[in-house]
Symmetry: C2
Subunit: 388 residues, 2 copies
């Protein structure tokens, strides 16, 4: 119990003297000293190199007090973004600092067995890049498209990845990795990253729109992730506001709104408007950012469709901030201006609008955050349990 | 302080013996006895008529213990629903039991001064009906359409009632009524009533859709009312999903979606389909409930429009339950079946759907609840303050 209190205090401050830990924990000096010895023996705490600390180098009387530091590199966590086209894996220390990352393209429509193998290989590569042994892995967080169950165990429904639905992903990975594994919807993880380290860090009520080849959103209410009664909150890619008969989920797994504004549509539409030199959607988005036609027209049309489907979301939630993330951010000012103008014409109240600055890393960063929370909980629990 | 603790315990249980209050409060018997004397003197507590209590009439040795009861009729609260066409006022005792109610039609487009006078007259009539003197009024809750500020003081924006916007309604009423007055959006109050005493009493994540001549919604997240960053959460009447140029707020203050499915539209559409005998929308809705054409067709069309605008709300929130309230409930099974079918074609997950059973009273009941909370807070605060 005392070890847990000391560890908790040291995690909060980063480094501290015994005197400061006595104040922070309310424990006696001998108790703190004993707990520190245990934590040093167990590898969680070290004495800081005195040259690291400006305080320690200031002139003092007598022997300088030991400065103790939480060993953030004692263990590591992995955050991994598993999409239908790519796997992005980040390795972080226990302070959340990224020490290695690996990005691999995967074939679309891989089978679950293939994807599982890809995931494990990617984690192995990233760990190797950081020279970290598998035994150092404290927890893994996995981001996946689709609906994930409340226990962070199974993928419930992923129209876009055939075979991925009803997959007990966490159990399968845990078996091979030998550490806690939790899964979460990718956009839900991205919004956690925005709150943790992005443009949403000071906002409690916000919506993150992840807009690339897919379209999804995640909702924070009062600073808490709103997952919904069936884990399906924020699945705006499946919105269908067309007047004609509803289209439902398309054969390729895309929902109606994402099919009409996603990056595949953007490239097709640019071609149909005479843009024959852009090799991919990225080129079209960059052309829009540079103010070139017909890219600007394409973005404007996409924003019209988006505003029609998204204005009702604003009417329901009235958030303080909407963050736009995903590949669409390459269009920079053109996408912000387009969304603002078209939402302005359709929404009673238009919230503040910001582009995400986290780029491709957002989901993996959120997954790191999920894994860190689990690792910290287990670490503190281990010392707080009666046997410790 | 002791009075507040005893009062709180007695409010929770309704009635109790001194012995039970000693257990509930953790105070000594003499302290509880003294507090009870003060509360009896102040009029908040009375000795229950022993014939009221089955416990007291059971055979006991010696003198029966006094049964003490909170005097719910010591003061009263008023909940009032102020709409552009009607004012509905309910008077309740401190247990929330309605002791009188008055409903008055008002001219549409009344000026704020007229409306204020109507509100005060209606409160006076309801208090008179219950034979309650103005001095008994402990708090007033007011429901109004539109956006209300976070302090429950002012109406910020009400497109449907000209002149009502930017009105410091709470202050103006407080001046004349001499008791605390709080205002809140009418649909927000209705959802509080549903949670308190309606079909939503066991549900934490729900959306109430109030569908009559107007259309609005209120959102509960984790059991808490979600007001939104600008107090505009749930304003779905202003949703506009049409492909053509956005219509915005119409000259009569209606939003695009409410103008295309509200009861005025329902009557007009029934007429255009050859229904020349229904005198009003109520008749059309009742005809739909009875399975008659063209009313059924009209309801089906309204449900198509509704589903197009509301499915994105479900995609954002994924609630456990959607409650349909307002005049549209007169269509009974026809409206439930229509909404379910059209949402089923457009939403990834369709939540449970229920018709409200509170009818016309919902907003006033929620306003009573708002006033009760304020009255209880003030009562307990008065005894908990250092001078008491």
């Amino acid at each position: 119990m005392n070890c847990a209190a000391v560890l908790h205090a040291l995690r909060d401050t980063g480094s501290a003297r015994v005197t400061e830990l006595v104040t922070a924990t309310g424990l006696s000096r001998p108790t703190v000293t004993a707990a520190v010895s245990t934590l040093i023996d167990d590898g969680w705490v070290e004495e800081a190199d005195s040259s690291d600390s400006s305080e320690a180098s200031s002139p003092r009387m007598g022997r300088p007090a030991r400065i103790l530091r939480f060993r953030a590199d004692a263990r590591h966590v992995v955050g991994i973004d598993v999409g239908p086209h790519k796997i992005y894996c980040a390795v972080a220390d226990l302070n959340g600092a990224i020490v290695a990352h690996v990005r691999r393209a995967v074939e679309p429509l891989s089978s679950p067995a293939d994807l599982l193998e890809h995931v494990e290989t990617t984690i192995g590569l990233a760990m190797a890049e950081a020279s970290i042994p598998p035994s150092s892995l404290a927890a893994v967080g996995v981001g996946t498209p689709g609906i994930v169950d409340e226990q962070h165990e199974s993928v419930v429904q992923v129209p876009s990845v055939p075979g991925w639905s009803s997959l007990e992903l966490a159990r399968l990975l845990r078996k091979n990795l030998g550490c806690p594994v939790q899964i979460e919807n990718d956009v839900n993880l991205a919004v956690m990253a925005e709150r943790w380290d992005g443009v949403g860090s000071d906002v409690d009520d916000l919506v993150l729109v992840q807009w690339g080849s897919r379209l999804g959103a995640a909702v924070l209410v009062q600073g808490n992730l709103h997952r919904g009664a069936h884990g399906a909150a924020g699945e705006i890619g499946f919105v269908d506001v067309e007047d004609e008969d509803p289209q439902g989920i398309r054969p390729d797994g895309q929902g109606p709104l994402e099919a009409s504004i996603g990056t595949s549509w953007i490239l097709r539409r640019a071609r149909s408007l005479g843009d024959h030199h852009s090799p991919d959607a990225v080129a079209v988005l960059k052309a829009a950012a540079a103010g070139e036609e017909p890219a600007l027209t394409v973005i404007d049309e996409a924003c019209t469709h988006f505003a029609r489907g998204f204005a009702p979301v604003l009417a329901a939630l009235d958030p303080e901030l909407v963050i736009i993330g995903g590949g669409i951010t390459l269009a920079e000012g053109a996408i912000v201006e387009g969304i603002q103008r078209h939402l302005g014409a359709r929404a009673l109240v238009v919230p503040r609008l910001e582009l995400s600055t986290l780029g491709d890393d957002a989901v993996a960063l959120g997954a790191v955050r999920l894994a860190l929370t689990e690792a910290e909980k287990r670490l503190l629990d281990a010392y707080a349990s009666p046997g410790a």
